[in-house]
Symmetry: C2
Subunit: 795 residues, 2 copies
């Protein structure tokens, strides 16, 4: 928007302007209440009858007027300062407020032309709200201008910070509900200000909306003293401004003045930082806004006080009693719609001009439809990072260290674009991505001391805060505003954000069905420090069930990869970073492991996602006696070891080794776009030969994914919730995924082996006894196991 010197908002604040703002506020309140109640007669130009009213009134009113109030004030600020701003609504419901405001400013009708700015459009606007086949009652993907869904609570502030990283001109206003403020993720998110760079990032303006109540309880923040609230926020590093009251005109003046102060403070902070390069953590301003719940709505219904009480949380009144019809009419008419909308049902011009224009309207701001701004990452050629594998198993490497080199160069290539960050709860070193510190640092805008490593206010590694919620929330906000990144987590503790990831997958599913929403970069999650090797951690750190969790989400959104070595990881990672609008989960190893495939082989293998490893099989394309399938680094290692034992003792046995990288290949093609057809599946796994499947996670997942396949002669070995502090090999033994148990399983399922089978099984059981005794004595694995090397069985 050009700097319009005629803009009235740039002049002094007048009573006339405040009155217009109040009229705009009333228009938004009218439209919000109308959405709750009306099916027809949207401007009450006919006598209101029950036929005009929805039969079932479902939705929320409590939070709505306060947010309408905020929205109109932000409109003024945007115009006054030519400010780039988006609005994140934290409270769970009240989506009608944002629909009302984006409708008033015109963006709603641009996105949904059927909901036009006239009486007919308003009627449709009202009917669709919280109505079957319509829109949801909370701010949702369908709502223009939103990147935060008002369903599950707690993530608004983290999303807000994610949106302003590397967006120096953007201010994201984040309205935090006082109910939401009680959740853990929100409670810790106040500290996000320690990770903001005043030069290179934008600003977040939190508005704690002290509405007073949750569903039927008061909120804690509303019932502690002014002094405690003030200290709390000052302790969190904020400078709180209080805007409190219930008289609209008084409140308009106070809010406008406070917003001017606050925005000018933000601008002053940024100006100082930009001019001096001083990135010292500033004390950013925020607002505590106390307004009555259900403000301006019915005061008393059926003898109960409504406005200002918990009873205003949902709808002030149901429409089961006829006398409520009159009350509804009075309430709606109290906003004086006749002054607000012209004959055609359109907002009158002198109010319409209060809204910003074009992309400065918060409903149209491209940051809130991040795909519009998305630029592909510049990615190095992953083949350049190949581990040189002369022969399968000939060398060892640490997959995550190799990946670290590639990620380092992603940082290099995108240094200028500033559109790539990585996220993790203080696990970058532990997850072996340390090479990234050759080119960037950790983001940290707090005091530093001599012994610190890799900290700076301009760091792009977001790993200096120990909260999976914050990592996930920041990343989601960063992705949804059109940038790239990934989250590297310990496998077990990604479960802390099960629900957040699920909510994000739901967001992606719904937005993928909205043509006006542009696709964003995928949510990429790397799970290292996986269940199979924990050393000094133990049972609490073992949980491979995130895969099961993600597998239940919509097939067009989720993908899961378990690369068995470094070259496969590089290939898969590169693929995921190029993809859009998926949740990609990669499970990797960080410890030294044998490397199996050359880069050329890895590319082919990962492209197929699943395949026979000829070099580890001796069936020569004929029907094998047994299929040894494996998925994940540890299962692959043990499967290959089992294959060599089987071959040594039963050289006549035809063994086929199948490795799975892309887990969803197992599912039928009818259920997942990656799934193999039954013909393809049978050609790998046969229709009836025994399959001994060593799987990284819970065995149940493989059984489920292959449920509809022909071959149920399937024995899946995986994690059984056994083992704690112990050696890597002992973990495998305790869960029967070790080579000896795999051999026993195979031999037991292959018919006709006779006494050779008995002999081999006994030998394996002896090995297991020897192992147990050895680790009890020495605490380390048998040399035979830890020094085992692959030797080919293919003749």
């Amino acid at each position: 928007m050009s700097n319009n010197i005629d803009c009235v908002e740039k002049g002094p604040l007048t009573q006339d302007y405040l009155k217009k703002m109040d009229a705009y506020f009333r228009a938004a309140n009218y439209l919000s209440a109308g959405q709750l109640y009306l099916l027809d007669n949207p401007l009450l130009r006919e006598p209101l009858t029950m036929d005009h009213v929805k039969r079932k009134i479902v939705g929320h009113w409590g939070t709505v007027p306060g947010q309408n109030f905020i929205y109109v004030h932000l409109n003024r600020i945007i115009k006054k300062y030519d400010q780039d701003m988006i609005y994140i609504s934290g409270p769970g419901h009240g989506g009608n407020f944002m629909v009302a405001n984006t409708y008033l400013e015109g963006t709603y009708s641009e996105v949904y032309p059927n909901i036009s700015q006239d009486v007919e459009g308003m009627k449709k606007l009202f009917k669709q709200f919280s109505f079957p086949c319509g829109i949801s009652s909370h701010v949702a993907p369908e709502t223009p201008g939103s990147i935060n869904e008002g369903g599950e609570l707690g993530y608004s502030l983290a999303h807000a910070f994610g949106s302003v990283f590397d967006n120096p001109d953007l201010i994201t206003t984040c309205v935090v509900g006082d109910g939401e403020a009680e959740t853990g993720p929100l409670a810790t998110a106040w500290h996000s200000n320690k990770f903001l760079n005043p030069v290179k990032d934008g600003a977040v303006l939190p508005i704690l909306h002290l509405n007073g109540y949750k569903i039927s309880n008061p909120t804690v923040f509303a019932r502690i003293s002014h002094e405690e609230i003030k200290k709390f926020f000052e302790g969190c590093g904020w400078k709180p401004y209080f805007v409190e009251g219930d008289d609209p005109m008084t409140m308009h003046k106070l809010m406008a003045e406070t917003l001017d102060t606050v925005i000018e403070e933000i601008k002053a902070i940024k100006k100082h930082a930009a001019e001096t390069g001083d990135t010292t953590r500033p004390i950013w301003p925020m607002i505590v806004l106390r307004t009555p719940k259900g403000w301006t709505g019915p005061k008393v219904v059926d003898g109960n006080e409504i406005e200002g009480t918990f009873r205003a949380h949902q709808v002030p009144m149901s429409m089961e009693k006829p006398e409520h019809l009159e009350m509804l009419k009075e309430w709606l008419l109290s906003y004086k719609p006749e002054e607000l909308f012209d004959e055609k049902g359109r907002l009158v011009p002198e109010l319409a001009e209060l809204a910003p224009k074009g992309n400065h309207r918060m409903g149209a701001n491209p940051h809130a439809n991040g795909g519009l701004l998305l630029r592909d990452l510049r990615l190095p050629d992953y083949r350049d990072y190949a581990v040189d594998v002369k022969a399968p198993g000939a060398i060892e490497a640490q997959d995550m260290i190799e990946l670290g080199g590639y990620v380092r160069d992603v940082f290099k290539l995108n240094q200028e674009n500033r559109n790539f960050r990585i996220f993790g709860p203080d696990e970058t070193m532990s997850n072996r991505l340390g090479k990234v510190f050759e080119v960037t640092k950790r983001d940290w805008n707090n005091a530093k001391v001599d012994n610190d490593e890799f900290l700076e206010a301009d760091g792009r590694v977001m790993d200096s805060y120990l909260s999976e919620h914050m990592c996930e929330g920041w990343l989601e906000g960063y992705l949804l505003t059109g940038r790239h990144g990934f989250f590297a987590s310990y496998e077990s503790f990604i479960r802390v954000v099960d629900s957040m990831v699920s909510q994000h997958a739901k967001w992606l599913k719904v937005t993928s069905e909205l043509p006006w929403r542009q696709k964003v970069a995928s949510l990429n999650i790397i799970l290292s420090s996986n269940v199979w090797q924990q050393d000094h951690n133990g049972y609490t750190h073992q949980d491979p069930g995130f895969l099961d969790h993600v597998a239940n989400k919509k097939a067009d959104i989720v993908r899961m990869y378990l690369p068995p070595d470094s070259n496969c990881l590089l290939t898969v990672f590169n693929h995921c970073m190029r993809s859009k609008h998926y949740v990609n989960v990669m499970v990797t190893s960080k410890h030294p492991r044998p490397q199996w495939l050359t880069m050329e082989q890895a590319v082919k293998h990962c492209k197929q996602g699943i395949g026979i490893w000829d070099w580890a099989s001796n069936d020569k394309g004929s029907e094998p006696d047994v299929v040894l399938a494996c998925c994940g680094d540890t299962p692959t290692l043990e499967t290959l070891a089992a294959a060599t034992i089987l071959h040594e003792h039963l050289p006549e046995l035809k063994i086929r080794v199948v490795n799975v990288v892309d887990l969803m290949k197992l599912q039928p093609s009818s259920q997942h776009p990656h799934g193999l057809t039954d013909v393809e599946y049978d050609s790998l796994f046969t229709k009836d030969k025994p399959i001994i499947f060593a799987f990284h996670g819970y065995p149940t997942l493989v059984r489920e994914l292959t449920y509809l396949r022909h071959n149920h002669n399937l024995d899946v070995h995986g994690y059984q919730e056994e083992g704690t502090i112990t050696t890597p090999f002992d973990m495998r033994v305790q869960n029967q995924i070790d080579r000896f148990d795999l051999v026993i399983a195979a031999v037991s399922r292959i018919p006709g082996l006779g006494s050779k089978a008995d002999y081999l099984c006994q030998l394996m059981r002896d090995k297991l006894v020897e192992h147990k005794q050895h680790i009890a004595d020495y605490g380390v694995d048998l040399a035979e196991v830890s020094q085992w090397k692959w030797h080919s069985i293919a003749e």
Copy 2:
């Protein structure tokens, strides 16, 4: 413990006593370091060689000395004030500190006689730590005195508050790591003080341990100003005391004086409240303890500073370099073990007497082994709450309202024992448990206003804080200290605590294998507001996957129930409340629903857990043509409706309806103690007849649980991640679990029906079209559906 007037701790604090405390501190540090490094030669009475040292050094040192310091000081306080106290250790690792201290005070050897208080025992103590077949490196179920595992972080403070509810004489000291303090669950838990009753509850003494670092990053709390820390805690309603420094003797004096002040303040608060009955929220004291990370350990190793830096987080040095052996020796000898342990290797008597005696030792306090204190709940006869069901479907009721009556009377019967509370994030009314407010209130110790409902400082309904983390954490702490309760949650948002519940299930599994740990009451979770009816909520509120999550845990710990009506819910709930040491998940309905079983039938049905509903079947014990199976309230309703349609159109068809209450009945008896044998399963489901299974959750779970059964002629209908704001019936249609789709599915799988089948399928498809049009027009379900009544098909 009797009030021993000779107790030296009751006199003035002397320099001599402080010196003894320092010696005790050194003994604990010695034992903690010894656990990390030594295999043998525990008191260094022979020259130290590499043979005496563990080959792989795994564990943590950083947090240990600070916690040893706290422990010895709490010992003094316990003796001085005859104080009942337990210790919760929040930091993730450093379990060696608690092992060391419980060993010094004697409890460790009482629990594990093999680890005796002599040289031989000390050698075993050292070897077992973080060693295969030994104990884990964090505070764990195996650690005496612990109710909080140091694995996943964030729950210590919520556990601490759970432990003191209804324990007026108990003080739980909760050491919060500054890393842990960054997690969301911990960040919100500071506000637990608003729910503490100074008369009827005990007190929590939080000690924020400002160790300075996490894994390789500094912590935020360690790098904000003193003023910000102070304000933060004051804002959270605490009075912080600071104990900061690094000289042990100076710190001993400061800590001892501060603890005296703090304990006396707590006692004064409680005295005032007890005497006056004034429960006004007091400002409780807390301590901020700043000590160097790895305090008293090696200063510099290989040129890197260790003490006071992030490098002290794990072990100060590996033992790969020979020169480290000498450093290790010097470090260990710096604690002067020769002054601390007698010839036999036992702590010298003048130090041993610093520990409290008997159950006042924190390792022996029965609150930390809550099963010792567990008293059965007094439960009313659930049959007295029966819904009078004259015939299946003859009346409607709301299952959760009926349950509310029963729960109300559980409160009544246990009023004096004060050992039962319920937990939920402001959802008691929404989940229809409102009858409980006839006898108790919500726990709330904050300002109140006239319009509030059911708030009081002595309430037993813990639903006034909007955080699933807090509910779950409080409840876990309450259960682990020997009391009873349940958590009622919206089904979808229980996923917020997926990982917490998983960690608790792991705790139960491990403790069930420890003979000295007594069983505690089960963790009972009721999921209402389930996926199938959300009204104004929508897609974000739909997630039945908690069942899948729990199903992956150990079979001896987890149970899942889906009662189809009120009488079944009452039966199941009563069973769960009597059970011990399980995680019981109950999925229920809260909306008006037809009632199917008399109480007598319900008791029988729930006892079996699964069964043929004869009154809904017409196979008369012969082999049916189709099995209609159902699990969950909505699936049961639609299955019964489908049965009536099938019967009406195809009266010759032999239909069997099987209802599942106890989900784990589906799993083979070899895998779950509740599982049916194959013979039992086949007698219900047949070996090959089509099963149309309508399931509450994701279809994958039923397929998985029945994977090893004979009959794979199975078509599972369940939630497919479809539908948002819509009517209850439309949700079913969108996920194909509605009666019409079930009929189509059945008819399609039954061979030999010919043209009748085609006709019926077409009819059903017409119904689906009619339904779609109807809800688009009116937003409510077809009258045919919403007014449908069951009529018997059994002749």
